[in-house]
Amino acid sequence: MSGKSRVLILLVAVLVLGGVAVGATLHAAGRAAEKDHARSGGPDVRSGEVTLDAPGVSVFRNMAWGPHRDEIASVPAGDPTGPRTSSGVRCLRFHTAGGTGVCLRAVRGGLRDTYRAVVLDSRLRETRRYDLAGVPSRARVSPGGRSAAWTVFVSGDSYAGTAFSTRTSVLDLRTGHLDRTLEDYRFFLDGRPRKPVDLNVWGVTFADDTRFYATAATGGRTYLVRGDRAARTLHTVHTNVECPSLSPDGTRVAYKKRVEGASSDAPWRLYVLDLRTLRETPTAERRSVDDQAVWRDGRTLVYSLPGDYGSDLWTVPADGSGSPSVSMRAALAPAFTAR
């Protein structure tokens, strides 16, 4: 083949591939604009005031298309498919309790986005902000609203960089004191102090303003740990527990369990652990759940699964009975205020 025909082939290929690339980008841009318009049949979303101390309300990230996409919205907890009230506050991850909200959001930068954790008061006004080192993952507020915690994923900027690592911070909202990484806490494995260098901690769930549970991973295993913000300690309680979520009465933990023998690479199933007997109960959800579930009340778990708009919320009874059902389409990161 002559040099000329090679260049010609390359030019044609550049034109064709460039056309496909530009077309795909324009299509996505058009769809992004389309996402600003509500789709018929989707949930009814109106802008309005969202407050975090109103009882009997479910607050979540609205994923439905329209001008309020990715905003924090609320519905009455008893009518999850009803009209949504959207706040205008955008978050990737969100949680609220005790009238305090924590919002993990992307901040547009010149070359790349950065991320920030923002603490909100009951009227969603920003009270504090903290820069984050990576992509936001989990967020929780303690039941009394006096502590907050969040997890981000940090990755080394490398080819097919799969060496993700987590960083979990805990904040005392009264003093403003921030423990930047729970890896600095004293870690006790089966009661013995350890200092593993490969310790990763993620997915905090608060028992009260100072005590919490979380996932700790070291040596290729994951543990449920009991943490204490005042004593700065983590104690292992149980193995093979990820993303724990403490029940309202503090007796059980819902969590992702890595199931042996599952064919997939992501063999997580939703389980409930009784903290007194350490007995595990599988829920009726048979699909792989990659979320930190929340308790809607003492009996029902809510969690997200991928859906048409990115994520849908499902519910399943915590005692292993019943079957999963959709609770809210196009929603993520729900929280339920006290009745």
């Binding site: 980008t25 996505a28 936001p136 994923f153 080394g156 900027d157 097919a160 960089g161 690592s165 960083r167």
Partner: protein, 436 residues
């Protein structure tokens, strides 16, 4: 915190498209970088734009768009790394015995290109994990034949420069990729599918450049060298020069702390804000990009093995700055990253060039794979040992120990690599016949 570094064998890229086509100097110097090397550099540049686009948005895509956690990947990482190392040996061997390096490289680049559109349809962690594993297999397959082709395409005396140009182009692609991805996301909010589509188009372009512009047969015909026979691995390892080079790469690899640990130490020692953490690898890559070509030229002048050792002295200096009680300053951070980048510039392509000196062309791919896999395995062992040392002694003492180890292994390397009269000298004008 990082468990182990996935990037045990950094394969970052090089040069801006502009500078790739432009000749640094007219006349004889430009001729020192043959068209085949520029073509291979372009392939790497384009391919790295493609793969780094995906790597840059993947965590965000998983977490913000799919609501998944990327942590599952982290746990699978070790397996993929192991597979990748094995595949690299296979790729090296196939390139020597099969259809030649170009065919094997084409298969590797092609496999990775196929993976990009598959990301459009994979929406669950297992499928995405499988696609990434296939992508990595392609990468493992193509690396050794690609380096073999670079070494076969140029004058032995100019190999350092040729590998420098290639690595600089490769690193430029790695730096450009994330920018392209974020520009697409800026134009189309949530347009991850557009990022994957564009990445696929760019990858196909890379394969086409390889197909059209990289010669299939190089100047040095890979005729069967005496004693190669059916066991290229044994033939390679029977050569004392290869054994010494592999031994040296392994020895130095054992004291080369992984990038992740270095960045973590840097962040802690210098009290850097966490928000700066993701930018640290960019500092290393920038220094690598700027210095790869000049240091490649230096390698051709003073000897590749000597510069390889000097590169480790730069790393040693970086360790020293981190261990010394110098306080916290931005200048110190920049200096450490510059030293880290010059370490890569003085060792990454230079080791490949030095390996090419020591391995006959008929088994070049196998030889490159052996040395690089040995180095990667040693760095992985170092990661584990360094982690343990950190646990027991704390970061400063652990780094001090690594620095002490590096002093010893650099000294041992200097002994191992001292020029033996029977081997070819590094500069071409002294050795008319370089292929033994």
């Amino acid at each position: 915190m990082y468990v182990a570094d996935s990037r045990t064998t950094p394969d970052r890229t090089p040069d801006h498209p502009d500078t790739a086509g432009r000749r640094p100097l007219p006349g004889r110097r430009a001729a020192a970088v043959p068209g085949a090397v520029l073509a291979l550099g372009t392939v790497s540049l384009v391919t790295d734009v493609s793969s780094e686009m995906v790597a840059a948005v993947l965590p965000l895509y998983l977490v913000a768009e799919l609501g998944l956690s990327p942590l599952g990947f982290g746990l699978l990482d070790g397996v993929y790394n192991g597979v990748s190392a094995l595949v690299r040996l296979v790729g090296g061997r196939l390139s020597d015995r099969g259809g030649g390096p170009k065919a094997v490289a084409l298969a590797g680049y092609g496999l990775s290109a196929l993976c990009k559109p598959l990301l459009l349809v994979a929406h669950s962690m297992p499928l995405i994990g499988a696609v990434l594993a296939a992508d990595r297999t392609g990468k493992g397959l193509r690396t050794a034949p690609r380096d073999a082709m670079i070494s076969l395409a140029c004058e032995p005396g100019a190999r350092g420069r040729a590998f420098g140009v290639h690595r600089a182009m490769d690193t430029a692609g790695a730096l450009l990729g994330p920018l392209v991805a974020f520009m697409i996301l800026r134009a189309a909010a949530g347009g991850y599918d557009a990022v994957f589509t564009v990445s696929g188009c760019v990858a196909v372009l890379g394969v086409l450049v390889l197909l059209l512009f990289v010669p299939g047969r190089t100047a040095a015909p890979p005729g069967p060298a005496p004693g190669v026979g059916r066991a290229p691995l044994r033939a390679v390892l029977r050569r004392p020069a290869v054994r010494r080079l592999t031994g040296c790469a392994v020895l130095l690899g054992l004291t080369t702390v992984s990038d992740s640990f270095l960045y973590l130490t840097l962040q802690r020692r210098l009290g850097l804000s966490e928000a700066w953490f993701p930018l640290l690898p960019l500092g290393t890559a920038s220094a690598f990009l700027l210095l790869a070509v000049p240091l490649g030229v230096v390698a051709d002048r003073v000897g590749r093995r000597r510069l390889f050792l000097c590169g480790h002295l730069a790393l040693l200096a970086a360790y020293g700055l981190l261990v010394a009680p110098l306080g916290e300053s931005a200048a110190l951070c920049c200096l450490v990253l510059a030293l880290h980048g010059s370490f890569y510039a003085a060792t990454d392509g230079v080791l490949a060039a030095a390996t090419a000196d020591a391995v006959p062309s008929a088994v070049r791919g196998t030889g490159l794979a052996v040395v690089q896999t040995g180095q990667a395995a040693a760095r992985f062992v170092c990661s584990i040992a360094f982690g343990a040392a950190w646990t027991v002694w704390g970061d400063r003492t652990a780094l001090g120990a690594a620095a002490a180890g590096l002093v010893v292994s650099t000294a041992a390397g200097a002994l191992l690599l001292r020029p033996a009269p029977a081997e070819f000298p590094p500069t071409s004008h002294r050795s008319p016949s370089v292929e033994p």
